[in-house]
């Protein structure tokens, strides 16, 4: 029976790094190549030795697909392609291709420069790796080779995140990466058509959560900012150039307008340039609202938000500043942080995950005395808050996606086995499909029932429809023909045509059978009766 084999090399049943190997109809695809952010040694990389003990990866894998730029999905890519060795194509969406190298380089800097790691990829490796990348558009069918094709679908979650459909012949797998089914201020919701894949691979990290509403999170965020500003403090919000920054800006601008607040809000210029640049490139990836406002005015022409100048950091009085980079590990945001850290009236709000080793990570873990360059100790008296607007699908979202795509089987990654039993039952009961939850390194085999398309000759069709009543579209109809298999094509033709094509003569086989009939009547009478029976 044809089958699809899935082996998670990371994810499976732990959250941390995603790297899934899929074997479909003889093709091998690697989905994501993430780094585990919690480990400092080789455990952070997926276990590639599983793929092939000997033999080159490039020969074994047909392609690598990266779903989005988060490091737990692409962090190990340069290591994989340059240090382990892979020269085949790497597919990702355009925004992912643009943003990945920046994040990878940032990450490399932190790990190597700050922490002094040696077994790590270099800047050149990142560049070489990105040269192997082929960027794809949404809903564009890309032929990897004659048989394998892939297609990207919008996934929400972050800019450029995509769900991928991998198709070989009539077997297909859909990999979701991280996705979100509810739109937020700057991204739309994930969407897929009723593609009916044999298998849907979905993340289930947040499957067991019931999320607090966005309004409440936003309200709490605004409250904190407002309180700090009211008492004369300064608020620092370190952000990455794109995505959440826009959302928070829009949020603050509206709030400032409504409450008639006077404290200045600044956006560091490096940010504005980069962000504007990216937005122009990827405007189609954001949601309707953003697109409309972008058309009407420049993204960053806010009434209350102005461009930042380094000197402003020393100005007295309250203010709010958005600055990069997002983890406080270098650059402008770190500079501002150092200036403001000593005052307890000030506040820093971290908007997302921070990698180990960064100042952001340290202060979030509660450290209040930091060692800076030159052995200087910085005492952190300012308030440290954490707020995550990151969007993942919850149980409701997963059910929605399954309903949209109508897969025949579902495979869950990124969750703990014990805690996914309920979700597994839920999916199986509601959709009557099998649900799998493999562990790292465990291979799940899914049997598929592929349809093999067969061309039927017109003559045969005509003949069959002429016999008997018009066939019911919904009921299978039995018919007779000859199946000709040549190379990879299948044709159904009438026996006469088959004979002609094959240059064979028709053989006629006559069966005779001796039957004894006991009948008292005369011989020719009995024969007549039998004959009349048969005729009638």
């Amino acid at each position: 029976m044809p089958e699809i084999k899935v082996t998670p090399l990371g994810a499976g049943q732990d959250v941390g790094r995603s790297c899934i190997l899929v074997s479909i109809a003889g093709k091998n695809v690697m989905l994501d190549c993430g780094m585990h952010m919690g480990y400092n040694d080789d455990r952070r990389f997926p276990d590639f030795s599983y793929i092939t003990q000997n033999g080159r990866l490039t020969d074994f894998l047909d392609c690598v697909i990266i779903s989005h730029f988060h490091l737990d999905h692409c962090g190990a890519l340069p290591y994989f392609s340059e240090m382990v060795g892979y020269d085949g194509p790497i597919y990702m969406t355009h925004p992912t291709k643009a943003i990945c190298p920046i994040l990878l380089e940032d990450y490399r800097k932190i790990t190597v420069d700050k922490k002094g790691e040696t077994n790590f990829f270099t800047s050149q490796m990142i560049k070489d790796c990105m040269k192997k990348v082929v960027a794809v558009h949404l809903h564009q069918t890309v032929q990897v080779d004659e048989e394998l094709e892939i297609k990207a679908y919008y996934a929400g979650h972050v800019l450029g995140a995509a769900m991928f459909q991998i198709k070989v012949g009539c077997e297909s797998v859909v990999y979701t990466g991280d996705y979100n089914m509810t739109p937020d201020r700057h991204l739309g919701a994930a969407w897929i058509d009723k593609c009916r894949p044999d298998l849907l691979i979905s993340e289930s990290t947040y499957a067991t959560t019931i999320r607090d509403s966005k309004r409440c999170r936003e309200r709490d965020f605004l409250k904190k900012v407002h309180e700090t500003v009211e008492r004369g403090g300064k608020v620092l919000i370190p952000v990455f150039a794109l995505g959440r920054a826009q959302e928070l800006c829009i949020l603050l601008e509206t709030f400032w307008e409504r409450m008639n607040l006077k404290a200045p809000i600044y956006f560091s210029t490096g940010l504005t340039e980069k962000a504007n640049h990216y937005y122009k490139l990827f405007i189609t990836w954001t949601n309707q609202k953003i697109r409309k406002t972008f058309v009407q005015r420049n993204m960053f022409e806010f009434k209350h938000i102005k461009a930042f100048d380094r000197a402003f950091a020393d100005n007295p009085g309250p203010m709010v500043v958005f600055a990069t980079p997002g983890m406080l590990h270098a650059g402008q945001s770190l500079q501002i942080f150092r200036k403001w850290a000593g005052n307890e009236k000030n506040m820093v709000i971290m908007p997302g995950y921070c990698v180990q080793g960064t100042v952001g990570h340290k202060i979030l873990s509660g450290q209040r005395k930091l060692e800076m360059e030159g052995r200087q100790i910085l005492e952190v008296k300012m308030q440290v808050e954490y707020m995550s607007f990151s969007a993942h699908a919850d149980a409701k979202g997963i059910m929605q996606l399954i309903r949209q795509a109508e897969p025949r089987n579902v495979l869950l990654v990124h969750g703990e086995a014990k805690k996914m039993e309920f979700l597994k039952q839920k999916i199986e009961q509601e959709f009557h499909v099998s649900c799998f939850m493999p562990a790292n390194g465990e291979t799940t085999t899914i049997l598929t029932n592929p349809c093999i398309p067969v061309d039927i000759s017109l003559g045969l069709l005509k003949r069959e429809t002429a016999i008997g009543p018009v066939p019911d579209a919904k009921k299978p109809k039995l018919m007779h023909g000859t199946l000709l298999m040549k190379d990879n094509s299948f044709r159904l033709v009438s026996p006469e045509q088959a004979l002609k094509e094959l240059g064979l003569a028709e053989h006629q086989l006559r069966f005779t059978c001796r039957v004894h009939i006991q009948d008292p009547r005369k011989e020719h009478e009995t024969v007549l009766r039998v004959y009349n029976h048969l005729k009638g």
Partner: protein, 362 residues
């Protein structure tokens, strides 16, 4: 508000029950099967005493869940066991479930406690206690009240029959005393050591009987007489009565809540005492709001009472315009945090809110 968190459940619930370890349980009551029973872990902000502002974990987590074929109208945990009991239409039988969060996160159906059913029985109201053994008190009508041992399903006690009125609530006041409330508002006390004893409390105000009533009781602190805590009854027209069970001939207090009339029926009427605030109670079930009252200023004249706080969140939540406005189906107080409540409504929303005591004026 000091704090407000809103959540959306996949299916609306009409019960919110607290379980060991600060867990919260909700369950679906839809007509089709596939109703889910969910045991949730509240976000850390709700578990600590102080309210934190921004916190990484702000979501409820589904700790375990089960599937029920019938709608779940009532659910009670059996103390000191890993079992819970549910009831719901179409009949008055009970379903017993096992919650074992160790090796699996599925709440499994274990057994059914069936009752002899007359036709047209409505669903059973339930209460549990584990004083002598795990018991469940249940019944849909006054003449069908019994106590069953949960594990063995043996009947331990049957209350004397005093009529066939439908019950709205029942509870254990202590391990020997039962309190039953009928939809007509009549209260009955029983001592299970004396099989035929069922004493009616006479203090129902004489009002037209078209109303339906429900009651709320408060668990006394250790050592206090359970019957020293007043019992509150709420009618579908908004009347609230306070009764001291030791002096059942007269009402302690009577007040009228300002509720929309005509009421939307008594299906989701709910009244409860605050466990950590003396004299405060909350009511819901009339519309999309939850009212909080301070009963200490009440007298027996039946005047209109001013709520200390009204939670209107559910009324604003719902899908704009389509269908009926959301109706609050259940509410409950947080067991430790004095001013925190949880409320659920018919549109599937679940709110957790912490109100601020208005200062000064009253």
């Amino acid at each position: 508000y000091r704090d407000l968190h809103t959540f959306e459940l996949q299916a609306p619930t009409r019960l919110i029950e607290w379980a060991r370890g600060n867990r919260v349980c909700v369950a679906g009551y839809g007509q089709s099967d596939g109703n889910e029973i969910l045991q949730l872990i509240p976000p850390p902000t709700l578990l600590t005493k102080e309210t934190q502002g921004l916190c990484p974990e702000r979501d409820f987590k589904v700790e375990c869940g089960g599937f029920s074929e019938r709608p779940v109208y009532s659910l009670k945990y059996v103390p000191d066991t890993s079992l819970l009991v549910t009831s719901g239409p179409p009949d008055s039988s009970l379903q017993v479930w096992q919650v074992s969060a160790e090796d699996t996160d599925v709440i499994k159906s274990v057994s059914t406690i069936s009752t002899e059913d007359g036709t047209g029985q409505s669903w059973a109201k339930i209460a549990t206690i584990s004083a002598r053994a795990p018991w469940v008190l249940h019944g849909s009508r006054l003449d069908r009240v019994q106590i069953t041992e949960v594990e063995s399903r043996k009947n331990v006690y049957t209350a004397a029959s005093r009529g066939s009125e439908e019950l709205s609530n029942l509870t254990f006041l202590d391990c020997n005393t039962l309190l039953l409330c009928c939809v007509t508002g009549r209260l009955w006390l029983a001592d299970i050591r004396q099989p035929q004893s069922l004493v009616e409390d006479m203090s129902v105000p004489s009002v037209p009987c078209s109303e339906q009533w429900c009651m709320g009781t408060r668990h006394a602190a250790q050592g206090l007489e359970p019957s020293s805590q007043p019992v509150v009854r709420l009618s579908s027209r908004g009347l609230l009565t306070l009764t001291d069970l030791r002096k059942t001939s007269e009402l302690l207090a009577l007040a009228k809540a300002r509720v929309p009339s005509p009421g939307s029926g008594a299906e989701f009427l709910c009244v409860s005492w605050a466990p950590a605030l003396e004299g405060y109670l909350a009511i819901s079930g009339f519309d999309g709001t939850v009212h909080v009252y301070d009963t200490q200023s009440w007298d027996s004249f039946g005047r209109e009472a001013e709520p200390i706080f009204v939670h209107k969140g559910h009324a604003f939540g719902g899908a704009g315009g389509s269908g009926d406005p959301p109706l609050v189906t259940a509410h409950t107080w947080h067991l430790q945090k004095p001013r925190t409540l949880l409320s659920a409504s018919s549109d599937g929303s679940l709110h957790v809110w912490d109100w601020v005591q208005p200062c000064g004026k009253c």
